[in-house]
Symmetry: C2
Subunit: 260 residues, 2 copies
Amino acid sequence: MELFYGIFSGNTAVLDDAESGHCIRVLRHRCGDEIHVIDGLGTMARCRLVDDSPKKAVAEVEERFPRWGDHPYRLTLACCPTKNNDRFEWLVEKATEVGVDRIIPLIGERSERRIYKSDRARKIALAAAKQSLKAAVPEITEPLSVKDFLTKSPAEGLRLIAYCFEGETLRTSIRAALQEHFPATGGTRAYTADDEQRSVTSDEALPQITVLIGPEGDFSPEEARLALEKGCLPIHLGPSRLRTETAALTAAEAVYLHFL
Amino acid sequence: MELFYGIFSGNTAVLDDAESGHCIRVLRHRCGDEIHVIDGLGTMARCRLVDDSPKKAVAEVEERFPRWGDHPYRLTLACCPTKNNDRFEWLVEKATEVGVDRIIPLIGERSERRIYKSDRARKIALAAAKQSLKAAVPEITEPLSVKDFLTKSPAEGLRLIAYCFEGETLRTSIRAALQEHFPATGGTRAYTADDEQRSVTSDEALPQITVLIGPEGDFSPEEARLALEKGCLPIHLGPSRLRTETAALTAAEAVYLHFL
């Protein structure tokens, strides 16, 4: 199944230049063809192509599938971009495949990368969402300092911070923290074909989880102290020494696997 | 902490050309310096440099740490290499960081990549093991066909196969399969500084787990049938459509997180 990204207005979806070119020039779709368009916000629509312009294709919506390819939680990864940009972009792709809602590039006191341009990461998130059949594209925000993030953003849901100061004994594993806050529901039910593309329509409040991951040189003690003051729970990701991007993906995997 | 890889013989560790160059030319170690050398098999040794030749440095062992940086399970990932080689090499790096013991490049009936050279992946595994402070370097075997793997390799421990045939209803999640076979031990204990570098010396039998991951086009129905005949348990990795390498890493993360 091939997905396109479009801007929806009423019953019409308009594809931008890049998406139109791919749909019309590369895949040679023509007026009357059925195509599937996501709005990037969670809805996938089965559409009929009504204008096959390779610059600005237009399709009419025939059926909408809200929360298509959605996961049963809301996860924010607040993570310091790595010195090597490829590694952070890899994280964006993989976390999108697994299931993440927002990625906040954090600039920590010890970050070597102090400037981050989010545009490229947004393109990677869109491509990964389409590839992994998700109608919602994770939001990649503009970068924020750790301090601003902790003092200015709303303190919603369970907020976890992973750091690895020597001798620290207070932390529990991310697995134990998730189990405590969101007790497992069993997880032994069989998998059915319906699960392949769930279309969750209920609007119940989903568990909100935020995980903070520091830069290669870790958070500073002041940043960690501020995080605890602001109600973040210190966690560890196990005995392996993980690179920044591996730590962030491990956190995303822990949340994904917890809610399986 | 910087680790070097060496060949051990009695009380002596010899670094090869590349490792010697890095140790002597780049890091400018000299006779009398303390260095840390892994044997790639699980032991890290605190050594004293006795020959600072940049082609073949030699160190004398002062103290050995068996099973240094080890994890409490034995995991084999039997995974079809991806069409794009970078993606498989990325998997080798990430799985090594998280904790894996053996990676078997599988050639499936539907594999687009039918030839795989394991040498480059071995270098990546070594670099990742050193970077993530593990004394054991995962073994990257020569490639094997799925059929040969299933019929010729010993059927030890829990063997799981992930595939995604439409309408299949028999599978349970990897999380449920692990919980059933290796009931959780709680996982809520606090993390101590000792855990940072555990030196597990007991030789108890560790849980043996093998996960089979197919190529982009999935296993063939015949391969899946043979796997079930041979005692593999069919599992799913959740509702997300994951790329081959993401599926394999997700399986490694599930095992790692289960034993946290």
